[in-house]
Symmetry: C2
Subunit: 244 residues, 2 copies
Amino acid sequence: MFLRNTYKVLFSKNKKIYKSIKNIFGFYPGNVFLYKLALRHKSATRKKLNGVKVNNERLEFLGDALIGAIVADFLFRKYPFESEGFLTDMRSKIVSRSALNKLSLKLGLNSHIVAGNEQGKNARSAGGDAFEAFIGALYLDKGYNFTKHILVNRIIKLHLDMEVLESIEVNYKSKIVEWSQKNKITASFDVIDEIGKKFQKQYEVGVFVDGKEIARARDYSIRGAEKIAAEKAWHILSENDDEN
Amino acid sequence: MFLRNTYKVLFSKNKKIYKSIKNIFGFYPGNVFLYKLALRHKSATRKKLNGVKVNNERLEFLGDALIGAIVADFLFRKYPFESEGFLTDMRSKIVSRSALNKLSLKLGLNSHIVAGNEQGKNARSAGGDAFEAFIGALYLDKGYNFTKHILVNRIIKLHLDMEVLESIEVNYKSKIVEWSQKNKITASFDVIDEIGKKFQKQYEVGVFVDGKEIARARDYSIRGAEKIAAEKAWHILSENDDEN
């Protein structure tokens, strides 16, 4: 195994990519063509005779799903006493497009992306897409358990700070707005009272869903009151949503 | 192994659940308590001293992610020449809440759900939730490869008809509406021309995004023209979205 890998690395025309993957992720690829495909941005699509487009989009679809599962498993075990709402929020923070773009940059994956033009090279999400596709390639090449090992031990544990992620605040107001749009229900945040005067002044904000008040909160700023009310309302909505 | 399982089944107070799982899915559980937890609906939540809620919600979070990954893998291999858009649509059809609710009913999983009250027992999504949680339990109990084997060979291949799923039409108009709401961009479908008279009459419908026409199509009904125009527009939006 060792000899075969050394041979591949020293004499392959893909020497550079073998060494880069070993350096970044700590393993030698089996089928190097999968990883090369993962790094082919859609701006560098090659068309086959049967009309099939050759780029990293299919691998991105696969990798995205695998990352979702592996991160879910990681969080499930790391936080045995937390609710599924907490786990969902933490996963969103880890796998958000901007988080994956940053990760790709930090790992040095970006410099290996093959793009067809400047626009593709500079596309905002090219890094995150390539990272996802890379995980898809790794999964096809080495299977689930190895992929999980690399993603958890070489990437998440080395490059993400869970305590920092925990402390990032969830924007409950936009969660409610998104939820209401998705379910075609009206939701609004209205100031329903002002208490005290001048520097003592507090605002009372209510959250109205379908015209009905479901939560309210008071704070020295409208924004502050909205934030507290939104979090209360979100928990109430989540409870009800599950029961339907 | 066989003896141990037989012993467990014959003498366990959980005999019924052992036998049900064997009958439905074709395997004996290792840790039966995981599966019992998977079937505990949130209406039957038990609270522990430390405030932790004991029900199937955490397992549902895990199972949902695992189903997403396994179905992605299954589709990736089954349709080697289809685009990631096709794979995404097919997966949505397989893992939609209503599809999973039906599956749970068909498998007979519903009758094993432990609910705390009538409302919980009849909750619309209790079946799909329990199915997801069950897959989460299976994954913790037996690992990824075994879970994939059961989900693909005992569930997808036996209970889902891929040809029927392929033929279910995707509603591109609502995809565009959702997309526009999510991104806070206006999108509208307007009749821009009527061609011919009476039975020959055709409608030309345009799709306008941010006030700009991005696609148009003609058909004998407004609804028909909207449908064709929406599909065109969706592909154009997807292309642009990826490049940003």
